[in-house]
Each structure stands twice: as C-alpha cells, then as structure tokens.
Amino acid sequence: MAGKSAATPSTYSPSPAPKTKRPIFQDVDWVRPDGRGFHQCRPAFLKTGAVNAASGSAYAEFGNTKVIVSVFGPRESKKAMAYSGTGRLNCNVSYTTFAMPIRGQGSDHKGYSSMLHKALEGAIIVESFPKTTVDVFALVLESGGSDLPVVISCASLALADAGIMMYDLVASVSVSCLGKNLVIDPILEEESYQDGSLLITCMPSRNEVTQLTVNGEWSTPRVHEAMQICLEACSKLAKIIRSCLKETASAPKD
C-alpha cells in the first residue's frame, strides 16, 4: 500500500527453495545443526514485564525463537457473551510478517490459538474471576522452531506475572522423531524434516499432563520414551520459570 506504485507488484524471496536432499537426519549418529546433544534443550531466557500496558507479560527466547505474551484482565467479557459463573479464557497467537524465513502475511494462527487455550485452561482457576475474561495474546517475533511449546511456557509465566490464579505453572516441551533418533526442542530445520512429533504440556509439581499431541507414526515404547524425556525437560523448565518469577518478586524496588 505504501510503495511507489499503487498496485503492489508481485515479489519473490531470493532465498533458494528448500532443498529436497535429506540431510544426515536419517543416520543413527549425527551432530545437530546447533551442536546440541539429542536430549539437550536450547538455553532458555525468560523475563517478565516485557509489555507495560498489559496486566502481565513475559518475553521468552529459546535459541532463535522469540516470543512475547501479554495478559490482559480479568476484564469485562465481550458484550455478546452470555452470563457465566466462571471466568473465560481467550487466547490468540499471531506471527510477525518477518518471523519466518520467507515473508508471510502476519496473520493469526488459529490452530495454535486453540492449542494454547487447551494447554492453559486446565491450569487456570477460572472460578477466581467469575463473569470476566482473561485475554492471553502471543506474538511470535521470530520463529526458530518449537514455537508452540515456547508460546505456552511463556504464557504461563505471563499469567503468573498478571497475578491470575493457577494450580501450577505450565511448562511445555516437544520432541521430534528424526529417523531413529528422538530430538528434543527441535529447531526449524529439524522440524521441517521430522517424521513425527510429540508435544507435552504439563504441570510438573502436580505431575499432570494438560495437553498432549502426537503426530506421525510411533510405536508404543517410543511414545513412552518420548514422554519420559519431555516430562523431565518440563520439570527443569518449570524450575527456570519459577526462578524467573522469584527474581522479579525479589528485585529491589528502588
């Protein structure tokens, strides 16, 4: 709309199309593109209070995956909504136009929005804010793989920052199945070649799984193994989230 010409000409990205050659991922032994071990997560950076205008917010950075989540409310539900004795949760996930290697439209991600809702609804005490709505909005600034788990974990931190009552913090981790290996916290490149994926969202201190999705072909022992790896990583992640919250709470208020 803003360019010189009124009708925007069609453009294309000069980056080469993804090669069909399958990299080494089939083999039993290979080194991950970022040099991690198969069962090693990316370093996580989390921070609360990224957005001042929101009731609570958090920023998460896992490798190249950068996400901001804002929480608004509890506030008045939309006019059209019927009366409800319990609170409502409203989730929305969107991407920036530059989040992906190829420029996108920056539209809402409906699938992720509903997955985020399902992952959080079990953890939030909706009885604590009757008749009102809590809005959880996420923006993926840059997509570097495992976007949904990062959004979920970041959202639970933002909810805690906003003072919304929860049964426990929610942590989420995914694994990719690449050939014979299970790879935790996959990056974008690994995700695009994966044979299957498993995503777990859980409340570690209650040992409860709030959301689980499996994709692709798996045998039962593999599912078992993958769940074990994920749950371990989730409890570690929850510790990091908790320490981040403590840090914020104990920060000197000078």
Binding site: A17, P18, T20, K110, G111, S114, K118, E121, G122, A123, C177, E191, S192, Y193, Q194, D195, G196, S197, C202, M203, R206, N207, E208, V209, T210, Q211, L212, T213, V214, N215, G216, E217, W218, S219, T220, V223, H224, M227, L231
Partner: protein, 287 residues
Amino acid sequence: MVGLSVGEKHFIQGGIAQDLRTDGRRRLTYRPFNVETGVIPQANGSARVRLGGTDVIASVKAELGKPSPSQPDKGKVNIYVDCSPTAAPMFEGRGGEELSTELSGALQHCLLGGKSGAGAGIDLSSLVVVEGKVCWDLYIDGLVVSSDGNLLDALGAAIKAALTNTGIPKVEVAVGASGDGLPEVDISDDEYLQFDTSGVPVIVTLTKVGRHYIVDATLEEESQMSSAVSVSVSGQGRICGLIKRGGAGLDPSVILDMISVAKHVSEQLMNKLDSEISAAEAFEEES
C-alpha cells in the same frame, strides 16, 4: 448444550463406575454402527456412517493440481468438516464453526502423519502423476448430519470408508510434451485406480468420566467428561496421531494406560469396520 439434572448426572457417572452404561453397554463397547458407501454420486468416493444417534457423511473429490515445491513427489490432501445446523441447534449461524475447525484439525492431525509424510494414513506418493508438475489433490469433506457424541471416531471411520470407495481416473501423460509448461494429460473415463486403504488408521476416543474411561461416548456422557484422548491407530498397531481434549490434567501413567487400551480396542474396531465396509461395497455393486 445438554441440560442434565443432578440425578441424571449421578446416574450416568454411577453407571460408568459400575461398568453398565445408561444404554446397557459396557465401558469399552461401541454402539452398533452401519456403513453405507457411494451415497454421493458426483463425488469420487463417499460414505455415510451411523453410530447410534451420530450420523456423518464423508466425500472424496479428486482434482488435478500442482505439487508444492517443497514436496514435489507427493500429492496434497485437504480435510474439511462442516457441522450442519440440522445436527444440533448450537451449530446454527457461526456456532458450528469452532467445532468444525477443531474436528478438521484433529482429523488432519490423525490421518496425515508427520511433516515428512511418515506415518500418513493416505499414501501421498501414489497421488503423483508427473513429479513436480502434476498430482492429484484430494478434497475430503465431512458433514455432520446428526450429532450424538463421538464425532471424531465416526468421521474417521467415514473417511476410511469413503477412501475405500474412491476410484481415481487413470491418467495418461502425453509423450514428448516435456518442457517448461505443464505436461498434457489424458484422463481416462472408464479406468479407475483403487486406493489401498489398509494403512488408513482408525480413531479411538477414550473419554474419561470420573475415574474410568469409556469409548464411544454419547452426547450426554460427553457433557460429564473431564478429558478425552483420541488415538489414531494403524492396522499394524502403530500410533499415527494422538490428541487430548478437555481441560483437566492427566497423570502420565494414566495416559500410557489409555494408549494401550485404545490400541486394544482399535483392533476390534478395525476388523468390524473392514467387514462393514466390504459388505457395504458388495451391496452397492449389487444394486
């Protein structure tokens, strides 16, 4: 929504706890179901599945298209589900939209496998006509005619039946037309290719009510659920997809237990469905 009195709720929950549900079934028994194929003559394949009070139709349409550049050796499949306003008053207007998206997403998740195409119920590479140039696009549409719970399992079964019923016209590629443009193809009118649907998984949904879980829940029973796990299992007993619904958390060991139960149930369901489908196909050919 189902409006139940406290007494009715107790009756349902108590029945499930004692392994005798309100309609006389046990916890792991399906309702009797009925498959009809070839219900929509215009489509390449179609089927209608009635599972108790739940009634769904699935149709498959095939069109020639261009494969996506990232996967030149594979065809494309679209799954879309529509909830008819006749099925339930809450589907009127835009009310059915959310459920439609959820069901479409769940079916894609359960039937299409991982990103690399591994574990897909439908063999996408058989849909390619000319690599990188021409392929078949399958449009799978589901329609919920009447809803009495367990829509996902019913839709999964209907899609499997519709795919079995699908004939894709044989395509001749004109020789010597290779070049930059699209190759010329000749679609045969009387020769059809049948799909191999033995790999298409069935979906088993286990609904947790109280401390127990049941298969094939009715709408009333679904209103009492705390959470549900849908597992899609292929004929070889491998898991092709899994989705959890409902807000309440589950213990990881319970989930693993549910997976093994779902696998067990799926074997019976698969056999039953296969025999129903072949009976329906035989019936269709006769008439």
